[in-house]
Symmetry: D2
Subunit: 136 residues, 4 copies
Amino acid sequence: MQEFAWPVRVYLEDTDAQGVVYNASYFRFMERARTEWLRQRGIDHDEARERHGVLFVLTGIEAHFLAPARLGDMLAVSADVVETRGARMVFRQSIRRADEAREVLCDGRAEVACMDAEHGKPRRWPEDLLRELSKR
Amino acid sequence: MQEFAWPVRVYLEDTDAQGVVYNASYFRFMERARTEWLRQRGIDHDEARERHGVLFVLTGIEAHFLAPARLGDMLAVSADVVETRGARMVFRQSIRRADEAREVLCDGRAEVACMDAEHGKPRRWPEDLLRELSKR
Amino acid sequence: MQEFAWPVRVYLEDTDAQGVVYNASYFRFMERARTEWLRQRGIDHDEARERHGVLFVLTGIEAHFLAPARLGDMLAVSADVVETRGARMVFRQSIRRADEAREVLCDGRAEVACMDAEHGKPRRWPEDLLRELSKR
Amino acid sequence: MQEFAWPVRVYLEDTDAQGVVYNASYFRFMERARTEWLRQRGIDHDEARERHGVLFVLTGIEAHFLAPARLGDMLAVSADVVETRGARMVFRQSIRRADEAREVLCDGRAEVACMDAEHGKPRRWPEDLLRELSKR
């Protein structure tokens, strides 16, 4: 099975004085991958609000660093929905070096809640939105 | 004459793999100093819009790098209005190392335009806003 | 017992188009608090390497978002070591609004490994370094 | 004549609470374009130091904002060397919306100095490096 992976080049802006990618930059990369995963399914924030009446709200993120990425590296950032229950959706994300060996540099996770756009309360994911997300 | 200077500590987030502060970070520092200069005069963006009916719109910024700042450095970032004419306000800003020698590391400039909050068109700075800004 | 808390003002640079603090910015805030917690104990990265022959390597970070911080907010970011075992040190961190109510906006965690500076391998934290860290 | 232009998607990380791209983000975009322009000519920082014994040092940058870029926009960032004299190289850079109209959103400029990698002093750009840069 082929998972979704978004290519990311490491620029100077992403690195720090320890000579590697700065810790918070990995979350910027993971958010790009989730955004592009949604875009591929025809969904963005405006779309979700206007057509489905819901907001995606990020409720938790984490990253485990296995090996550092460096200036000039080409990375592949995955985004895989591993759980959808009630108001909750969980992404598993990995950041690999985009070469032959495809070493995993960072193992991540993001939890997103479905909120009613009008009342700002958690609600079940709309069935038609879930159908659109399960397309590839 | 004592100019306004805002203290900024250099953290890992501000640096890059060349071991110094990343170029765009200096603009983040300069924007903090302008924000605090305004706050000291009792002005923020909401205030300007609600009480004066205007928006501050950044129209140009520049920086000249004389010497690099490094991880852990304590900096002093100035913000000095050097011109106010028509819809235009020009800040001169310097970034110095906050020690005895006070070496200038970066020489900056920011140009801000006054826009009518309702019609989004440039307009002269309101006289009462200028009076508040000239207080110290 | 009074825990360590570092003050952080929210600037434009920290926010995003959803009108709140951008997710990765919370990790920049938490890293500032850990850095200042160490500085208060007289330790920085150079110090740890030169005097103790070790490196601090960040191996994992996480954040759970309870309520959003907004432009202009003053925050208090804590850093508390809750576990030190073998090569591992765990910080519990919270981000609160720095007002009367002190609402918790974000609940975080950072895991740091002690690495031998020469061979780049995990090792137990040096006893004298732990003693310096337990001072306040 | 076709100038070099690097595609940049605007993500949440690039925007601020005013709903548009944050000022310092434009400099991150311009630096990506300069890096890719160099990469296209087979040059990066290691290359320049090892093969030519020189460092590229950024000595000044500026941007003039004509219209705001927004979340989700696709941009095209140009990088054009407009002057090379002595130790100095000047890039003219524009950021346009990557659609039919190609509106210019930001007009930028970057000045880079050639430094001797060994003595850290400004020096003339090596002739063979200039030849490689003039290829397309």
